[in-house]
């Protein structure tokens, strides 16, 4: 199982705040997960497209498409930050 969290505009676009997933065997890296999520349909496809500026964290640390994903991980997806 992995935990997926969505924040800010992404949370609203996808109408999803969090979900749990049995990690599909084919998913080893963030890039695989994004591809898999994009396959869910229109809003997901554009949110996780290659040219979207979405950011990702793995276990609350900033990560990238190449970052490994393991069972039990917490993955966060969010738009560029605008605090301060």
């Amino acid at each position: 199982m992995i935990d997926l969290l969505y924040f800010a505009s992404l949370r609203e676009t996808l109408n999803t705040e969090k979900e749990q997933l049995d990690l599909p065997l084919s998913i080893n890296r963030v890039a695989d997960l994004k591809k898999w999520l994009a396959a869910r349909g229109s809003d997901w496809a554009s949110a996780f497209s290659r040219d979207s500026n979405i950011l990702v964290s793995v276990n609350q640390k900033m990560a990238s498409d190449d970052s490994m994903i393991r069972d039990g991980d917490e993955i966060g997806f969010f738009p560029p930050v605008t605090g301060g």
Binding site: M62, V81, G84
Partner: protein
């Protein structure tokens, strides 16, 4: 080190005193406070709504503060960021740096602001009289953070 993501307001003087408490080696306190300002297109802002990533935001702010303490000759730092609904002219964020020397205090304080604006998971939504929308990340802020490298 004081790191907090909170709904309630903060008091610059109290946070500064807390950092300096019992110390006699502090010659300089630099602080920065960010406030809600109406930047909406039609100047009809009702409030900003601040969202964060509980757990990660705090870790991220702590890591930025540790980074500053390694790069500058400073003694301690505080970062307090508010979340929830904030009205125009309310406080959003406070950064305090204490040091023996003013130059280090100024630089580290500015660095912390530039970094937290581009590195900490926090998002602003504008609630105006005519609707709501998420604030877009600014190129200026990205550049300001890059300039510290």
């Amino acid at each position: 080190m004081i790191i907090s993501v909170q709904k309630q307001d903060f008091d610059i003087a109290k946070v500064s005193q807390q950092l300096c408490d019992g110390r006699k080696d502090i010659g300089a306190i630099a602080t920065f406070t960010g406030l809600v300002r109406d930047l909406s297109q039609n100047r009809d802002l009702v409030a900003l709504e601040l969202e964060h990533y509980p757990g990660m935001t705090e870790k991220s702010l702590k890591s930025i503060a540790q980074d500053a303490m390694q790069r500058w000759d400073i003694e301690d730092a505080a970062i307090i960021h508010r979340v929830g609904k904030l009205k125009p002219s309310e406080n959003i964020v406070l950064v305090v740096v204490i040091s023996a020397h003013r130059k280090a205090a100024f630089e580290a304080c500015e660095f912390l602001m530039d970094y937290l604006k581009t590195r900490a998971p926090l998002w602003k939504k504008e609630i105006t009289r005519h609707g709501e929308h998420w604030v877009e990340a600014k190129l200026f802020d990205q550049q300001a953070a890059e300039d510290w490298k």
